[in-house]
Structures are given as structure tokens and as C-alpha cells.
């Protein structure tokens, strides 16, 4: 088991190092981490693993800024930091809840497509043991010579669009603080879900 993990980790490092400056690199890094999740001891270990992967592959400050659109400049520096932190938490915890116990998954490449200068869409397929493959499309953008994920489209549905519309409605209704506490609440729910005893889940 340990050996397997070691070999796997070595391979992963090798793969990532080999493709560090390609658009597919952050996607591969994320996928590796996701596939490794079920093997982790507990949800805290899983969270730690995905945190590293998300921090390494996502451009969260950029995503956060775009997500709030014109609201962003109205936030105080503290609010901006708090929002980035909670968005990061939310992203990480969603991965853990969705992939933490999913065995037998497999990713395959489905091509790349240039979207604009310094922006590429990396298409992949997520194969589940039973069920049709899901199309996962990552929009990656180069910033300071590194490619980073700025949006994920799952089965045609864009995460950025979904969240943007949701957050916009919340800010208009309850203000920025309302959004921050809502995210806080959602995150703790996600954490509960992620760390619930394994047998009761699913």
C-alpha cells in the first residue's frame, strides 16, 4: 500500500514536472489529487491533499474577483480576503464531498482548444464505474508563466456562471456580509458532509 502510494506519488511528480508549463498541467495535478482521495486516512488528510492541489492549480484570487464583477471593487480589503478564503474553502470541500469516497473513477483527455491569447480550454472526460462519462472542461489561463484554472464546466454547466448569478442575487438581497456568512454556513455543512462517518454516507 505504502509502496503503491510512493510509486504513484513519484509518477505524479514526474508527470507534473514534465508538463509544468503546459495548459494541461494544473488539470492533471488536480485530477491526480482527486483520484488519490479515497486512499486517504480521513477527511482532514483529504482536505489537506485537495488544498494543496487547488492552491497549485486554481487561480482563486482571479476567480473571486471575476465572480463578484462590479461588486468586487466595493468590498473592503478584509472582505475581499474573506471572500477569497471562503471561495477556496468551498471549492476544496466540494471536491472532498464529491470525490472523497468515489472509487473506480478514471479521467481521460479529450483535447485542448485555444480560447484566446493565454487562455486554453482543456477538455477531459470523467469515467464513472456505471454511467455515461461526464464532460469536464477546464478553462486555464497563463499568469506569470504558470497555467492556472479559472473556470470549470461540468456537463455544459459553468461553475463561474452558476456562482456568479447566485452570489449576485445574495449581495443584492443581503449585502456582502450576507454572502460571506452564507458561504461560511454552506462550508460548514459541506465539511460535516465530507467528514461524516463513512458508513452512514452513501
Amino acid at each position: 500500500m505504502i509502496l503503491r502510494a510512493l510509486v504513484f506519488a513519484t509518477l505524479s511528480v514526474y508527470t507534473i514536472a514534465a508538463r509544468a508549463d503546459t495548459p494541461a498541467a494544473p488539470v492533471a495535478q488536480l485530477h491526480q489529487a482527486l483520484l488519490a482521495l479515497p486512499a486517504d486516512a480521513d477527511c482532514e488528510a483529504q482536505i489537506a491533499r485537495i488544498t494543496a492541489a487547488v492552491d497549485g492549480s486554481y487561480d482563486l484570487p482571479d476567480i473571486a474577483r471575476r465572480m463578484l464583477g462590479t461588486h468586487w471593487s466595493g468590498l473592503s480589503a478584509e472582505q475581499q480576503q474573506a471572500f477569497v478564503a471562503r471561495l477556496r474553502q468551498s471549492t476544496i470541500l466540494q471536491y472532498v464531498t464529491r470525490f472523497g469516497r468515489a472509487e473506480g473513477l478514471r479521467f481521460s483527455d479529450d483535447g485542448e482548444q485555444a480560447q484566446a491569447a493565454e487562455r486554453v480550454r482543456v477538455d477531459t472526460l470523467l469515467h464513472r464505474p456505471n454511467g455515461t462519462p461526464v464532460k469536464l472542461q477546464y478553462l486555464v489561463q497563463r499568469d506569470d508563466a504558470r497555467w492556472r484554472i479559472v473556470n470549470v464546466v461540468a456537463g455544459g454547466v459553468s461553475d463561474a456562471a452558476l456562482r456568479r448569478v447566485q452570489y449576485d442575487a445574495v449581495i443584492r438581497r443581503e449585502g456582502v456580509e450576507g454572502l460571506l456568512s452564507l458561504l461560511e454556513m454552506q462550508n460548514s455543512e459541506l465539511r460535516e458532509q465530507a467528514c461524516a462517518p463513512r458508513r452512514t454516507a452513501q
Partner: protein
């Protein structure tokens, strides 16, 4: 009774008492014409042939109202400078396309393809806001708030768009909608309704066998403001106006049924509609008035031969005058086109006066030749004098800046001279050929008529008092008589081009804009600033205005949208296969989800019913529904992809066809100022034009042309009337000599003018570019009538109304009145108002000449009449 008989005996004394030089000359002409009809008519035939040749070669109709004004006028020079710098902006056909963004874009594209590929004689085809540049950068032209609303709407719709982009089929559409319906909060639900309503309509239409494909452009209209208006501006090749218009109309006719509503307006269609309206019924009206004139002439002359002679004489004069117009001017404008009507109205008078006197003399037993010559010497001087005064009144317009009337003045003035000459030379020749039999004696004047005719003389004081009072009252009203500045109000109401114009003039697309040509970009910027500062100006534009404002913010929004929405848009949408079973179950699932929500009259319930109907219908075809609902989807994806590719726009990036309309080949810049108020109101029109002209003296454009034109016309009429008045008084002084008679001749003129102006004002009839030509005509006829009455009274004594003169005046005015009254039926508002003013004016002038003037004449002296009788015998 005895007095009546006495009066009757003296009413028509013998002729030849004091013919004078002019009378003798007229008598000689008439004698010559009567003696040598063959020579006269051969000469006439040759002249007519030459005139017809000249007309065929050199007389065209110019419907451009701008060319009615002298090119020397400052505002005309501004206008011409703009026309030279931007020739394709001049005479255009404007197609106005109204519909949803999808339908208008598709329709504009179809029209462009037809018109560019076809053989339509168009020099330029321009679709503002259409084309690759605007497809890509169009969102930059929304305001920031509008673009944000659009971005939110598109993000909301993203799950639907994204799923369909991956799998454009019915199950995907229905499942996505079901997820929306199940999860939507109130705000999302409201945003979803237009789409659900449209899908409902498409489902119903498909079941009813109608083609109503779902218009996906509704996703671009978050606020429900789906209607979009596009323009196509078409410039015909020089000289191909009519065929270009026909080709454009044909292209619109040929549009498929699902195209957006397309209507035509603009200068050329409006001219065409205007000319059509002016011509509509013109033949019937001409025939009717000719019949009236012929009937009236017969009542007066009692012989068809004489009627024919008068009409043929008239026709010959008309052709000769048109020939003169072809040689001297070369064109007829919208105003000088009326020379025909004026000619008929005035020229028939000479024949009527001559022939009625001729008949009168025949009745006294003279031979035809002697009666004609006698008529010439009796009325010749009056005819000559009235012809000279009328011609003078017309020629007085020649030096004015109102070229429309200046040309009318030249043509009509010449026409009067021609009419006099043909009446003295050709008419006798025609009479000789057509009036062989001696006429029946002149009809006796009935007692009633006689009593009426006597009343002005009998009740002299009352008549004068009444005339004075009426004149004063009319003068009071006349002060409120206004000139209508807007020539658009003269055009026929019920034409497509006019209706579209009326719609446009109320909004920001108003065609009544000010324009300006400046030398460089810096000057353009300053001018736009100055104009924009005016409270009367809604918006001032120059080329630089087409560089979108707040581009950084807008590009940021579009950039975010490219990430949130653009990522899931494929380059090409492949049509998906139809899966009937999956479609039916997805539709059933959506129906069930909808049925749980919304009251009976809600959007959800409506769609649920439509879907239930579809599921129950035996003829329902999943393939047909998929094609109706998703056939337009690839268009949406393409438009989104194009819109997301927006890039910073600088002056240099603007498309060439746009630039060509704002920067001239010489590098000058065009500026446009749109009014804030609806300029259909004259007061607003004047405010706007004056405000713009005050800060930009070089400004041109329709509002300035209207106001400048109106002022030119008013000035022209004041100048011309002053000149005409002087000339008429001088002529009257030479020919009448007695100061009192001069005053008497002028009186019906002044009183008639006052009464006409006062009554018109009281009736709400405004002066305008068209009916103002009634004024010279009234001047001519008014002074003629006065001269005839005075001449008769002076040389024959008695009541001038009871002889041939009163009848001649009545008949000639009535013929004219009838021909003009028929104009009131014209659908062309300018023509109709001309008819109204002329009829009114002629009626009142006749009243003054026959009802008031005799009351001012010296009492017929018994002794003098007796003297005359003695000297004659």
C-alpha cells in the same frame, strides 16, 4: 318698373365710344386673325410643334424641395457643401426593419444579399450597426448598466445554453428547463418567463402547422425589450431613382414570411408617394374641371363652337407656355408645376371677356367680323391692362430667392403674354372656323339677377359700411395667419413612407437632424460639445462618438463573460439526432414539474397545457418540434461567440462604411445633432433650428432647411408683393390716369386679400410652401376684375354688372373657382390646401369685384350717357 326698363335700355350702350390706342390695336389683331385663319393656324401649328419638341427634350419634373431655393442662400450653401462632401447621404431610400434582434438581423442580411447581388441600380448600400464589426463589438455600444444586465441574464441562462451546446436536442432542452423550474427562486423564475412563453407559442404553432421557430434572441433582452429597429440606407445611382425604388420594393416583397416587418421611408419614397398622391385622381379631377369649365362656358356663350374655340385657344396657349418653360427654365419644380392650373384659371378669362362681348355685339345685329373687332376695341384695353398687371405680379417673383416661385413667376408671366396674344390672334381664327352661325340673341337678364346686380349701387352706403366692417374684422383675424414651416405637413398622410416618418420623428431616430461639416477632428470635438450643451439638442454625434465609452469596464464584463459563458461554447453546433422516446418522456417530466407550480393563468400552467396538448396529439412529431425549438439555437451560439470576442475599439478600427458617412474624402468631419423635442411642432422646429444656427452658423439639415426655406419664402413674398404693388400702381396710373379709378381698381384687391387672409386664419388654414402660390394668382385676378368693371363703367356707363362684363367676370372667376375647388379633394395635403385657399380667395375676390366695387363707382350720369349715345350715333 319704368326705371328698370330705363336701366335695361342703357345697360349695354353701343360700342366704339373711346377704344383708345390699345383698343384699336386689339381690334386690328383680331381683324387680322379673323381674316386669315389659315395663315394664323399654320403658324400656330409650327409653333406648337416646336414647343412640343422643346418639352419632349428639355422639360423634366424636379421633386426636390431643396432646389426650390436659390443656391446663393447661406443655408443652402451649407447644405450643398455637405452634399458635395457626402454624396451618398443625399437622396436616399431608407428601409426600416422592426422585429426581434434575430429577425431584424436575418432580414437585413437577406436584403443586403438581394440588393448587393441583384441588378438594383444602387450606388451605395449601407446597414448601420450591421456587419462583422458590430457583431463583434456591438456589446460595447450598450451602456454599462445595460451590459451588466445582459451579462447576468446570459449567466443565468448559461446552464441551458451550455447543455444545449453540448447536446442540442429536445431531451436536453426539456430536462434543463425542468431543472430551472424545480430550482428557480422568484427572481430566476421571472427571468425565465419570456423563454417559457415563447416555447409555449412555438409548441402550439407547431401543432397548428404554422412555422414559428423559437427566437433565441430573446435571451439577449433581459428586460423584455425585444423589439429592435434596424435601418438600411440605400443610395440610388444618379438618374436611376425610380428603378432603384422599384428594385428595393421588389426585394422587400420577395422576403420570406418569417422576416421582420420592413417598411420604406426616406427622401425618395416620400417623393414618390408625394408625386403619386399628387397625380392620384389628377386626371379625373382635370376631366371634371374641364367639363365644368366647358359647361360654364356654354352657359355664357350658348354655342358649342365658341366653347370649343375658347378651349382650343386655351390648350394652344398652355402648350406654348410649357414650351417656353422648357426653353427658358428646363424644369418644373413642385411649385412651378402649378403653372398649368394658374394658366387655365387666368388665360380662359381673356377668351371669356372677348367672346361674351362679341356675342353681345352680335346680338345687336353686327356681322361676325365687326362684332369681333368691336369686342377687341371695347375690351382690348382692359385685357391688355389686366394682362400687364398680372404678368407684372408674376414677374415680380423672378428676382426673389425662392426659386420655386421665381420660376413659376417667369413661366406664368410669360404664359399671360402668350395667352393674350393667342386670344387676340388665334381665337378669332378659331371663331371664324367654329362659329359659322350667328348666335342667338343674348339672354335677357332676369329680374332677380338684375335686382341682385343693382343692390350694390342702390345700397351704396350699406355696402361700403359692410365692406369696411368686414375688412377691419378680417384684418384683425389676418394678424393670426401663420406660415407653416414644416413642408412634411404638405405630404399625403396615408402613405407608408409618411407613417414611418411620423413614427421616427417622435424618437431619437428622428430624420429631422441638424448637420454640420467641420475641417478636422479637433473642431468636430468642440462643435459636438457646443451642440450637446444646447437644451434643444438630445444628442450630438461625430465619428469619434462611435468609439465606445467606458471600454475598460465593458471589456472587463465581456472578459468575465468569456470565462463564465464562453468556455462552454463550441465552434460549431452539430445537429443532434431525434430521439422520440427520450423526448416524450422529458416533455412529460417537464409538464409534471410545471403542473405543480403556478396558478392556472401563469406562464408555467400555459406551457404545461401546451405540452399536454402536444403529448396527446397524434400528429405530434418530435423531429418537427426539435427543429422548431432548436433550429435557431446555432445562431445564438454564433452571436455569443462573436460578442465575446469584443476587443478595444479606437477611431482607426471603425468600419470603412461607417467612417465614409462621417468623414469626407477630403478629411472633413460631419456632425449630427438630434433634437430633444418632436420637431413636428413648428415652434419646436424653429427653436431647434435657431439654437443650432446660433452656435453653428454653418449648420444645415432638414430643420434648418425648413426654417430657412420658410423665412426665404416669406421674405420673397414680401419683396415680390411690394414690387408687384409698385408696378401695378404704375401701370394703373398709365392706363387709368384718374387717381380715384386707380384706388377703385386696387380696392377689390386689398379688401379681397384681407378677407381671404382673415377667413383663412379664422378657419385655421395656414399658409404653406404650396398654397402660397395662390397669392399671386389672387393678385392677378383681383386686379383684372377691378379693371374690367371700371373700364365698363367708364366707357359704357350704367351698371357694369349687367353687361357682358359682369357675366364675363362671373364666368371667368367661376370657371377658375371650379377647377381649383377640385384640388381640395387631393390626398396631397399641399394640393388640397392650395385648392382651399384658392377657392376661398377667388370667391371673396369675386364678391369684392362685383359686390363692393360697383358701390364705389360714380353714379351713372344720365347726361353723360345721353351724350355718349349721341356721339355714337
Amino acid at each position: 318698373m319704368a326705371r328698370m326698363r330705363e336701366l335695361a335700355a342703357h345697360a349695354d350702350p353701343p360700342t366704339g365710344a373711346s377704344a383708345g390706342l390699345w383698343g384699336r390695336l386689339a381690334a386690328h389683331c383680331i381683324a387680322a386673325g379673323h381674316a386669315h385663319p389659315a395663315i394664323v393656324l399654320l403658324a400656330l401649328a409650327a409653333l406648337l410643334a416646336a414647343a412640343l419638341l422643346a418639352i419632349g427634350h428639355g422639360l423634366r419634373v424636379d421633386a426636390d424641395t431643396a432646389s426650390l431655393m436659390s443656391d446663393e442662400l447661406p443655408w443652402r450653401q451649407n447644405e450643398r457643401a455637405l452634399e458635395r462632401a457626402f454624396p451618398e447621404l443625399g437622396d436616399t431610400i431608407v428601409a426600416v426593419v422592426d422585429g426581434s434582434p434575430f429577425a431584424t438581423e436575418q432580414t437585413v442580411e437577406r436584403l443586403l444579399n438581394t440588393l448587393r447581388a441583384g441588378s438594383a441600380p444602387l450606388a451605395a448600400v449601407y446597414a448601420p450597426g450591421h456587419g462583422e464589426f458590430f457583431a463583434r463589438n456591438g456589446w460595447l455600444y450598450l451602456d454599462l448598466a445595460g451590459l451588466e444586465r445582459l451579462a447576468t441574464a446570459l449567466n443565468t441562462a448559461q446552464p441551458l445554453i451550455g447543455r444545449l451546446a453540448a447536446q442540442p436536442d429536445l431531451p436536453t432542452l426539456m430536462d434543463s428547463l425542468r431543472l430551472y423550474v424545480e430550482r428557480a427562486d422568484e427572481g430566476q423564475r421571472a427571468r425565465l418567463q419570456p423563454l417559457l412563453d415563447a416555447i409555449s407559442a412555438t409548441v402550439e404553432a407547431t401543432l397548428d402547422g404554422a412555422a414559428a421557430p423559437l427566437d433565441w434572441s430573446l435571451l439577449f433582452a433581459p428586460g423584455g425589450e425585444r423589439a429592435q429597429r434596424r435601418f438600411l440606407i440605400l443610395t440610388p445611382q444618379a438618374g436611376a431613382h425610380a428603378s432603384a425604388l422599384a428594385a428595393v420594393r421588389a426585394a422587400i416583397e420577395a422576403l420570406p414570411a418569417d422576416s421582420a416587418r420592413t417598411r420604406l421611408t426616406g427622401k425618395l419614397p416620400m417623393w414618390a408617394d408625394e408625386l403619386d398622391a399628387a397625380a392620384a385622381g389628377a386626371w379625373a379631377s382635370a376631366a371634371a374641371s374641364l367639363a365644368f369649365v366647358a359647361g360654364l362656358l356654354f352657359l355664357g356663350l350658348r354655342h358649342w363652337g365658341l366653347v370649343a374655340a375658347a378651349l382650343l385657344n386655351l390648350l394652344a396657349g398652355l402648350v406654348l407656355t410649357a414650351g417656353f418653360a422648357a426653353l427658358a427654365v428646363g424644369r418644373l419644380n413642385l411649385i412651378s408645376l402649378a403653372f398649368g392650373a394658374l394658366f387655365i384659371g387666368l388665360a380662359i378669362d381673356y377668351a371669356v371677356h372677348l367672346l361674351l362681348r362679341y356675342r353681345e355685339l352680335l346680338g345687336e345685329g353686327r356681322s361676325a367680323a365687326a362684332a369681333l373687332a368691336g369686342a377687341g376695341s371695347d375690351v382690348g384695353s382692359a385685357l391688355l391692362l389686366s394682362a400687364l398687371t398680372t404678368a407684372a405680379a408674376f414677374f415680380a417673383f423672378v428676382p426673389t430667392d425662392f426659386r420655386g416661385v421665381a420660376e413659376l413667376g417667369l413661366i406664368s408671366g410669360a404664359g399671360i403674354v402668350i395667352a393674350l396674344l393667342t386670344s387676340l390672334l388665334v381665337l378669332p381664327a378659331l371663331v371664324r372656323l367654329l362659329h359659322a352661325a350667328p348666335a342667338a340673341p343674348a339672354p335677357a337678364v332676369s329680374a332677380t339677377l338684375r335686382a341682385i346686380a343693382e343692390s350694390p349701387i342702390r345700397h351704396r352706403r350699406a355696402v361700403i359700411a359692410l365692406a369696411l366692417a368686414a375688412g377691419l374684422l378680417a384684418a384683425g383675424f389676418a394678424l393670426s395667419l401663420r406660415f407653416s414651416y414644416n413642408p412634411m405637413h404638405l405630404k399625403p398622410v396615408d402613405t407608408e413612407s409618411q407613417r414611418v416618418y411620423q413614427e421616427l420623428v417622435e424618437g431619437v431616430d428622428s430624420p429631422l437632424r441638424a448637420q454640420l461639416l467641420v475641417a478636422d477632428a479637433e473642431a468636430a470635438r468642440r462643435s459636438v460639445e457646443r451642440l450637446q450643451a444646447l437644451p434643444q439638442v438630445e444628442r450630438a454625434l461625430w465619428l469619434g462618438s462611435f468609439v465606445p465609452a467606458q471600454q475598460d469596464d465593458k471589456l472587463a464584463i465581456i472578459g468575465d463573460l468569456a470565462i463564465s459563458l464562453g468556455a462552454a461554447l463550441p465552434e460549431r453546433i452539430e445537429p443532434a439526432p431525434v430521439d422520440t422516446a427520450a423526448s416524450r418522456s422529458a416533455i412529460a417530466a417537464l409538464r409534471a414539474a410545471l403542473a405543480e407550480r403556478g396558478a392556472d393563468d401563469s406562464t408555467e400552467a400555459r406551457l404545461a397545457r401546451s405540452l399536454a396538448r402536444w403529448l396527446a396529439a397524434p400528429e405530434a412529431s418530435a423531429a418537427a418540434l426539435q427543429s422548431a425549438l432548436l433550429g435557431g439555437f446555432p445562431w445564438l451560439v454564433n452571436r455569443l461567440r462573436e460578442g465575446l470576442a469584443a476587443a478595444p475599439v479606437a477611431l482607426a478600427e471603425l468600419p470603412d462604411d461607417l467612417v465614409a458617412r462621417w468623414r469626407s474624402a477630403q478629411g472633413g468631419y460631419r456632425i449630427e445633432a438630434t433634437p430633444r423635442e418632436n420637431l413636428d411642432e413648428d415652434a419646436a422646429l424653429i427653436r431647434f433650428a435657431d439654437a443650432v444656427a446660433a452656435v453653428e452658423p454653418a449648420a444645415a439639415g432638414a430643420p434648418l432647411a425648413f426654417v430657412g426655406g420658410a423665412r426665404t419664402v416669406i421674405r420673397a413674398f414680401v419683396e415680390a408683393f411690394a414690387l408687384a404693388a409698385v408696378v401695378i400702381v404704375v401701370l394703373l396710373a398709365i392706363l387709368l390716369r384718374k387717381p380715384l379709378d386707380i384706388l377703385r381698381a386696387l380696392l377689390p384687391l386689398v379688401l379681397g386679400a384681407l378677407l381671404t387672409a382673415g377667413t383663412a386664419a379664422a378657419l385655421g388654414l395656414q399658409l404653406n410652401f404650396a398654397n402660397i402660390i395662390a397669392l399671386p394668382l389672387l393678385l392677378g385676378i383681383g386686379v383684372d376684375n377691378g379693371i374690367h368693371v371700371i373700364w365698363r363703367a367708364r366707357h359704357h356707363g350704367g351698371n357694369p354688372l349687367l353687361g357682358s362684363t359682369g357675366r364675363a367676370i362671373s364666368f371667368s372667376v367661376l370657371t377658375t373657382l371650379f377647377s381649383f375647388a377640385s384640388l381640395m379633394l387631393s390626398p396631397h395635403r399641399g394640393m388640397a390646401s392650395m385648392g382651399a385657399l384658392l377657392s376661398l380667395g377667388l370667391g371673396l375676390t369675386l364678391l369684392c369685384s362685383l359686390g363692393v366695387l360697383p358701390a364705389l363707382l360714380p353714379r351713372p350720369s344720365r347726361n353723360r350717357q345721353a351724350d355718349q349715345q349721341q356721339s355714337a350715333s
